[in-house]
């Protein structure tokens, strides 16, 4: 039996006494100044972009969320009214729940598909890896709108390819568009298909970094493929899995383009996700203040998700 590999202890055990700190060479004033200035210069462009395209719009958005701004003209201050209204809005809750369901569907499916593909592509027994890698990476190069149109053609209820195949085989047409749950399932599959490519690359890189010595030792111990995968591969790629899960959750909760292209949040308003709800309120109904409040609630949710995952990961590592 092979034990799971564990991260190497990064700190010495308490019994080991630390030696005295090595004496650092004295630095001349000019040199110290250079080390302060150079990093600042190096990060200045990023800092400028971050402030211009994130901090400033975020502050503006936060301010708007306390107003009844319509997009032009004055922005009358309404205090917390938008937030209070939001908490009583059934459509907001419906969109939030649908977003959570969508995320709960997309993330595990993406992980399974991308990890499975990566394992196959790194397997020494696989043939045609280069071509397969290109083929599997193609979905990442397609814009979500185009991907949506493709999936709409596939799962079009009236003349879609899938229904054509089903009816050709003697089956009955499936309501891929006008049934709310089936409609969501199509989007989940399409999103997982679209997200597999990039995550697969991350997993491929992680899998290649797992030392082969572990597998050799496990083979000598008589471990089978599944045992090796469970006890060696999965723990070794845990940091990558963490990043993939985090990114997938954040990306899924912000989904807009794909669902817009596939079913426009339909049937009816059944599959309106949070960002679509925000877009409708902000840009179609010109309720910028209210939409800003909803955006901040979404940001808060995403921050909570990220923080929880980071804390859990840190605890696991320690």
């Amino acid at each position: 039996m092979v034990d799971s590999i564990r991260p190497t202890a990064s700190e010495p055990s308490p019994e080991v006494r630390r030696g005295p700190e090595p004496v650092r060479p004295r630095q001349r004033n000019g040199r110290r100044k250079r080390y302060t200035g150079a990093p600042l210069v190096l990060i200045s462009i990023n800092l400028l972009l971050f402030v211009t395209f994130f901090v400033w719009p975020a502050i503006t958005g936060l301010m708007y969320s306390f107003t009844s701004y319509t997009g032009v003209g004055p922005a009358p201050w309404v205090g917390l009214d938008n937030y209070q209204r939001l908490l009583q809005d059934d459509a907001f809750y419906a969109a939030l729940i649908r977003t959570l369901v969508y995320t709960a569907g997309v993330v595990p499916l993406t992980i399974v598909l991308s990890l499975g593909t990566a394992v196959l592509l790194t397997s020494p027994y696989a043939k045609g890896k280069t071509i397969a890698r290109i083929v599997f990476f193609l979905p990442w190069l397609i814009s979500p709108i185009i991907a949506g149109v493709i999936w709409r053609w596939l799962f079009g209820e009236n003349f879609g390819l899938v229904n054509y195949l089903i009816t050709s085989l003697g089956g009955k047409e499936v309501a891929w568009q006008s049934n709310g749950n089936l409609s969501l399932i199509v989007v989940i599959i399409a999103a997982a298909w679209g997200g597999t490519a990039f995550n697969m690359l991350l997993f491929v890189a992680a899998l290649k970094n797992v030392p082969t010595a572990y597998y050799e030792a496990a083979s000598l111990d008589g471990a089978g493929s599944w045992a090796k995968f469970r006890r060696i591969t999965l723990p070794a790629i845990a940091p990558t899995t963490f990043i993939v899960v985090l990114l997938s959750i954040l990306h899924s909760m912000k989904e807009y383009a794909l669902i817009k292209a596939i079913n426009d949040g339909g049937p009816g308003s059944t599959n309106n996700l949070l960002v679509q709800y925000i877009y409708t309120k902000g840009f179609e109904r010109a309720q910028i203040g209210y939409a800003s409040a909803a955006s901040f609630v979404l940001m808060l949710i995403l921050m909570i998700v990220a923080i929880i995952q980071l804390v859990m990961n840190r605890r696991k590592e320690s």
Binding site: T70, G71, V72, G156, E157, N158, F159, A175, Q177, S178, G180, S183, N263, D264, G266, P267, G268, S269, T270, T280, F283, E284, R285, A286
Partner: protein, 432 residues
């Protein structure tokens, strides 16, 4: 081209800064050169936004003639219809409106940035119909490019295959019940998939309500939308029931499936849409014969509307060129070419238009539409009139909730009463 490997090492910090400064200056100079604002002597390039699937040629040809005559390039940007109004809104918010646009409706958000088009509209030589203009304090805000009407198209091949007759004279039209019975017969006999596909739009459903004796959602004298009459509620209920995946596919109204594509597949007996489809069908349908048929009754009505409303924005130095382009567009000879090429019902009186269609069905369709507009009940243009009234009061319906609320009703998310209440509330919320 050769590159020197020693070059980077010669770039000292001062050199680096000099190169950076020079690059920044060059970029500034380049951007100044590429600016379309010109130097005050008039722009050489203007942008013209519109949204069309099949009416682009007329504008493209006209833009070439305009460039040859005035030396101003017109960059035509075809914007997807879905979200076009939002895009204009966002552009107004970002202070980057186009110079000229053909818009579905005016928006109070940017209405104060419009140029006065009175000189073109009132030019006697143009003979533009005065009843279609939107005039505020003597200022003409827009000139519509064409008049439109909702109406019915049928798959003539399927009707012939089934041996079912259809009316051709709007004076002797059929009722919705007769039409549905006829199309059901055709569907079964010709083994088609659906009887009808129906455009997913509030304007189109207005025609259905009027045909069935309802007054629809009317703007009251108090500037608010009133709860509709019973006939309207019955019409909406009847319409929802037609979405049964046999008479009509549910996916069009609930999930945005494309009715145009469905009709073109040849598997649908009829399509309720509008006059602007004629140009597209004349070219795009080759696998079966189609025809325009009179709109079913019992009330002889349609939804008469205006096509793209042409507006010019006050965009600095480009404003003058923008106005010139609009004027050029509506000069009698130019407009005649545009209307013929794009298949427009004319906004200029007395034009003898010879549409370049080789298909007799397309020419017949125009004759039928003109007759339909003549015979239509006055209620047919009430939607358009309400829109103009609101715009002149500085208000507008940006997102008509009818489409979304009917989608929820058809999808079984709410009943007809809730649907009607939500539509009325949604409309009134926007008019304030």
């Amino acid at each position: 081209m050769t590159t020197s490997q020693a070059a980077p090492s010669r770039l000292t910090r001062r050199g680096f800064l000099s190169v950076g400064a020079a690059a920044a200056l060059s970029l500034t100079a380049l951007s100044a050169c590429s600016s379309d604002d010109g130097d005050g002597s008039g722009a050489k390039k203007i942008t013209f936004w519109l949204s069309t699937s099949a009416q682009l040629d007329g504008y493209t040809n006209l833009a070439k003639e305009f460039e040859a005559k005035e030396g101003v390039t017109v960059e035509i940007v075809n914007v997807p219809y879905d979200g076009y109004q939002d895009k204009l809104r966002q552009s107004a918010q970002a202070n980057s409106l186009p110079d000229v646009a053909s818009v579905p409706s005016l928006d109070p958000i940017w209405i104060n940035q419009l140029q006065d088009l009175s000189a073109t509209a009132n030019n006697e030589a143009n003979k533009i119909r005065k009843d279609i203009l939107t005039v505020q304090d003597g200022k003409t805000l827009c000139i519509p490019s064409d008049i439109t009407a909702a109406g019915l198209f049928i798959n003539k091949t399927l009707f012939a295959k089934a041996g079912v007759e259809f009316p051709t004279d709007p004076n002797k039209t059929w009722t919705w019940d007769e039409f549905l019975a006829a199309t059901a017969k055709v569907r079964d006999a010709a083994k088609a998939k659906y009887s009808l596909v129906y455009d997913n739009s509030p304007a189109r459903i207005r025609a259905f309500i009027y045909n069935n004796g309802g007054k629809g959602f009317q703007l009251g004298s108090d500037g608010k939308y009133a709860t509709p009459d019973d006939a309207t509620i019955q019409a909406l209920t009847k319409f929802a029931a037609l979405n049964d995946d046999k008479v009509m596919p549910k996916s069009v109204w609930t999930s945005g499936a494309d009715p145009n594509a469905l009709f073109k597949s040849g598997q649908v007996v009829a399509y309720f849409s509008g006059v602007w489809q004629v140009a597209d069908f004349a070219e795009g349908i080759t696998n079966f014969e189609w025809a325009s048929a009179p709109t079913p009754g019992p009330v002889h009505a349609t939804d008469i509307n205006l096509g793209g409303k042409v507006v010019a924005f006050t965009n600095g130095d480009r404003a003058s060129a923008a106005k010139k382009w609009v004027d050029f567009m509506f000069q009698r000879d130019n407009y005649a070419k545009l209307a013929q090429s794009n298949g427009y019902l004319s906004v200029e009186a007395g034009l003898d238009l010879k549409y370049p269609f080789t298909k007799q069905s397309a020419l017949d369709a125009f004759a039928l539409y003109n007759k339909e507009i003549e015979l239509a009940d006055p209620i047919s243009s009430s939607g358009q009139a309400a829109g103009t009234t609101l715009v002149l009061k500085g208000k507008a319906i940006q997102t008509d909730p009818t489409k979304t609320e009917m989608a929820k009703f058809i999808n079984g998310q709410q009943d007809v009463q809730k649907t009607v209440t939500n539509i009325v509330n949604g409309l009134n919320e926007q008019v304030g």
